[in-house]
Amino acid sequence: MHHPIKLAAVLGSLALVATACGTAATNTGGGSGGNLKDLPAQNSIQVPANAANPAGDGKAKCPKGLTIAYIGAETGPNAQLGINIYNGAQLAVTQHNKANPGCQVQFKKFDTEGDPNKATGPVTQATNEKDIIGVVGLPFSGESAATGNIFEQAGLVHITPSATNPDLTKNGWSTFFRALGNDNVQGPAAASLAQKLGAKKVYVVQDDSDYGIGLSKTAQQALGSNVVGTDKVTTGQKDFSAVVSKIMNAKPDAVFYSGYYAEAAPFDQQLVAKGYQGTFIGPDGVKDDQFIKLAGSASDNAYFTCPCLPGELIPSFEKAYKSAFNAEPGTYSVEAYDATTILLKGIDSGNTTRPKLKQYVTSYDGQGLSKHFKWDSTGELSNSVVYGYKVQNGKIVSVGTIG
């Protein structure tokens, strides 16, 4: 009486045989594009000679127990973006403590999973710990928006090395500082990257995060009439067949995906599997090795925009990072290193309370590895650059500045 079950399996396998036989040939499906320009990889960048160094002069004195915290994703679907950041911060603290026996700063991590709904807990916890006088984070825009008021009430200075939503600096927060250009810069940069590639028809897809929605808006404004269609996807979405169908009908030269790698990877993979031959452009939230790992060879069609410096092209930083973490610096590792260095310099020069350290950062004016840091009254940098990146032989490489 068990035969019918076996029969089901057998028939199922037969169906597999029947259709799998047609799959040996390579895919030559529809879609357009595939004839865009290729931007050459960049092999070196100019490293500023006068960049701030966390080691300082080695003579710093400070009270015991002072703590700098990283608050952001340690786990969660986009954890790698957080890991790149806290490693950069950790590196700065380690270098500082090694050089300054008289000033040992603690480094603590709090996990938000990158989720705006979960971020208030760890942030409240951190603001209640009086030893924490400066914070690196939060990495993502949604969680930053959800927790900015808590930092503000606690008077706790926090420098985000990666949150790019422009609205974050419109809340009147005096404790929020952004160590990179925002999406009012990145959106147009994505448009100019598309233009550099020669893409005339761009399809814009956004996710439902504050970041994705905001960036999609500025990108669409800059792309203007080159936008041939738009669509929205959901955080956590795994199947993109409906969106892919629409894109295959619109035959764009490039797809700009405004969101994070957790959705971008399956999306790009499903696009390519359907025969899409154009270029896939993602922003900083997609630019991570995890994207390549999750999407496989489909990621060969990807370009990225990022208001971040290719840290791997700064020899001293790359070497220190690699020996500490046995990995190449990732997206925003340098920015996190710079942000932490600023906080450490503040502590070294005697700003060992929350109000004093906040004041120090507010009036800070100095060169970092990634850029010159000087904030306006809202916490935006006065100048910033966006780099272009592409996937080449399974690795992300810089193609230089694009705006």
């Binding site: 019918p4 079950i5 679907p77 999973e113 669509d231 199947d239 599997a273």
Partner: protein, 331 residues
Amino acid sequence: MIYLPLDTSQWISLDWSSLAQNFWSVTFDGLTFGAIYALVALGYTLVYGVLNLINFAHSEVFISGAYACVFMLTALGFGPSPLSMPAIELVGCLVAACVAAMAASAAVAFALERVAYKPLRARNGSRLAFLITAIGASFTIQYLIYLWRGATAEPAVIMFIPQPVFTVFGSTIDSQQILIVVAAVVMMVVVDQFIRRTRLGRGIRAVAQDPDTATLMGIDRERIIVSTFAIGGLLAGAAALFYVMKVPSGVIYNGGFILGIKAFTAAVLGGIGNIRGALVGGLLLGLIGNYGQILLGDSQWTDVVSFVVLVLILMVRPTGLLGSDLGKARA
């Protein structure tokens, strides 16, 4: 802080032209998903028929199969980049993955029945106790997987790149879509015939109709229950293989949740307890969700549209489209 949408344009709009342009490709994709829903829906329907229990942990039975499928394929060398291998070898690999998925799902379904439900039956637990246990079991398995595999999805495993086979109304139907729909429908027909014609099938129907009388007639109820869970598990395993084929990077600890809810909805839509209803409900739900998504231009609407249609149909036909239950199926 409450998030305010940045674009203040219309919050809802119907994109009929997009639906018209994409109608056929969306239809084929919808049917493919519908076939997967239908296979999972059978697991809900069979268990409901026999135990009058909504086995909410069936979504975890499904995702366990998906994990087994991914592990097997990874072990065989598959990864995010498509491999090129002879068709016969590929088929062998797919069969191996299918067997792994079915075995894992059936094993989880079996363990679930023994650990969670059998003790309750032995103590004559109330229906509510069963339901809460089902939900609890669902979360337990889900978070065990979370602790084991973390919050990240498994890297994609591409089995093969779908090839266009033929073109209908300007849209191509690819090998993957045909494979999934045909294999799923064949499996469901087999199960339907199995329930109708075999001794075990008769036993299942007898227990569904009247457990006490069935026991008096010499049917081993415990054995019937275990077999029902196992059959549901085998089908969920097959569904898991097709799911991984269709959504190669969709295997994540909570990946079964929404799909499970959808499959349960499909079962209710077709008439819970009714095997053919599960097929009809599944295919219909796959289509409705995809049409809604294209029409409303936003993936967030897929689920909303599906459930609105469910409510509307239940208002007209409270027992679902095909109504009658497993026990009344004719031999």
